[in-house]
């Protein structure tokens, strides 16, 4: 694969805050349906786990960011519960494509001297309260003003809103349902080696294309799972991160939320089979000083099988239009050239609006993915690199990762992280 499709990459000098900040702690609740807990209780649980992972106490954290869509608790409640006194917090509206952008914001506010360490969380009862698939309460709200141009047409859920891009990609490039189904095959393979994944069953291409149609071209198994969970990622300076319990994941660059023209209705500006990654990559790669060829493991957002493919294509992991070939080549599976969403992602592990993909890549870069491999006398995982069902899911020599976050075809965020060698 060539980098020629990506604009010039400058690795000669460190750009912006490259290599100065890190993810120092990650944590999550279990992935369930029917949590029987408030989003506030879930958030407290996940942040506590991330603090434990970082070896931090309440006094070490003085910043908080979170995101939601009228479906979650807020930072001030959760900080109070945990005894954290905040020097900075902000509750942000949004879903997918938030986490990479919020990590950039966290770096910025720390750089500005506003606080020292930021815990970022997303807490959601995406199955038992406000369903992410759009059924239930969210589908019954009154429709006002600008929303009439889509919701009045039964064009509201994520699958319905994105389907026109997916279909047009099939038309423009001859992409087939079977090719795209390989994304589910790969992610379900990964999930089968993830004890905490909600769905651990491995699926075949036939399973996917024979499952019922939700909204053409999406079959049931092209769509992600709805779950109840909270997730947390702690960001601090690399210096502070090096005092933490686990190895730092060093942030090389962030981009987000990058938009196509006409973010009010991106379909006005074509080609509509091209997504925001086309623009985001010109920030992501030059600022990181690496390109797609240098990436060992990706976290391309899988709200649907198609979103993973479209982003890998527009960020330059393959040529435009060859995404179907790329995702069906074996490259994105464990054991392949560049595995994607090794936790099982949104299709299988649980739905977190992008958080679990950053958590997973942090663990990959540490070399300490939580699979079923045995723990050695030093307390560390002894990875077998045998990816058979129920086995290992650690990528060998994972040095650099890329997360590709997705809000919709017109908006995305991204981040490159590297293993810390200190």
């Amino acid at each position: 694969m060539s980098l020629s499709s990506v604009s010039e990459i400058d690795a000669s000098s460190e750009k912006f805050l490259r290599g100065k900040y890190a993810v120092c702690g990650v944590g999550e609740t279990s992935y369930r349906r029917g949590s029987q807990e408030t989003t506030r209780a879930l958030a407290t649980w996940a942040i506590g786990n991330a603090m434990e992972d970082a070896g931090m106490n309440a006094g070490d954290i003085d910043g908080m960011l979170d995101y939601s869509g009228n479906d979650s608790t807020f930072a001030n409640f959760v900080a109070g519960d945990l005894g954290i006194r905040l020097n900075f917090y902000m509750d942000v509206h949004g879903g997918g494509s938030s986490i990479e952008a919020l990590i950039g914001i966290a770096m910025g506010v720390i750089e500005a001297g506003m606080c020292k360490t930021v815990a970022i969380f997303r807490a959601m009862n995406g199955y038992s309260q406000v369903r992410i698939g759009g059924t239930g309460a969210r589908s019954a709200v009154p429709i006002n003003g600008d929303q009439i141009h889509n919701r009045a047409y039964g064009w509201q859920s994520a699958g319905q809103m994105f389907a026109p891009s997916f279909l047009r990609h099939m038309y423009d490039y001859g992409t087939t349902p079977e090719q795209v189904a390989h994304v589910k095959v790969a992610h379900s393979k990964h999930a089968s080696n993830n004890p905490k994944a909600y769905y651990k069953k491995r699926y075949t291409v036939e399973d996917v294309v024979n499952s019922r149609i939700i909204c053409k071209p999406l079959h049931l198994l092209d769509c992600c799972v709805e779950t109840d969970n909270a997730t947390c990622i702690i960001v601090t300076s690399l210096d502070r991160a090096r005092d933490c319990r686990n190895r730092a994941a060093v942030i090389q660059s962030v981009a987000g939320r990058v938009c196509k023209p006409r973010a009010d209705m991106h379909y006005q500006h074509g080609p509509i089979s091209t997504v925001a990654g086309l623009y985001a990559r010109d920030i992501l790669w030059p600022n990181a000083g690496v390109g797609p060829e240098d990436i060992d493991v990706t976290g391309s957002y899988d709200a649907f099988t198609f979103t993973t493919m479209l982003q890998l294509e527009d960020y330059g992991f393959c040529k435009k239009g060859e995404g179907g070939d790329y995702v069906s080549s074996g490259a994105i599976e464990l054991g392949g050239r560049r595995p994607n969403n090794t936790s099982g992602g949104h299709l299988c592990e649980g739905y977190t609006h992008g958080m679990n993909m950053v958590i997973e890549n942090t663990r990959q870069l540490r070399g300490e993915v939580d699979d079923s491999c045995p723990v050695g006398p030093d307390g560390k995982k002894q990875h077998t690199y045998d990816y058979a069902e129920g086995g290992c899911r650690q990528v060998k020599n994972a040095e650099v990762s890329a997360n590709l976050g997705w809000a919709n075809p017109g908006t995305g965020s991204a981040m490159v992280m590297a293993r810390d060698h200190k």
Partner: protein, 173 residues
Amino acid sequence: MPLQGEYMGMMLTIDDLDHENLDFFRHCHEGSFHLQRGKTSGLLRYPPTTACPWTGERESEWVPVEGKGTVHTYAEVHHPIQPAFRDKVPYLVILADLDTQKGAPSEHEALRVAGNLMTADGQFAPPEMIRRVGIGTRVKMVYVEVADGFSLPHWTIDEDADQPETPWRYPQE
């Protein structure tokens, strides 16, 4: 007083200060599709906006636009999300490129107007009609009333137009 109407069991509301949407849907109710045109750019835009996407100019004028176009892409919904659509599946959401201003101001731009596939008299299209429509199908606009002064634009097959032999459809029927 906001302009309100119940449509398929859904309450649709346009606030009385939302001049752009009030004008847009009033023109539809009068049976004449109109879009805003930027005075400086001379370009039409869809859906309504508060300024010209090419110049940022706030002033605009509403001009009549022929409601004819070609299906650029679509979504064919088989699993309803909103209760109102439960007895309508399968239904099509069409994004049609208007003939007017297609490919301008740049190659891949077009006025891509949303609507459901309807019969010529404004009923949801039956499955056999849906199977005739794909990317490339020529369509024309029909209007469905929500309230006095408020109609929604929709699409129907333009039976008088030259149609492609086989419009592109998703391979699984």
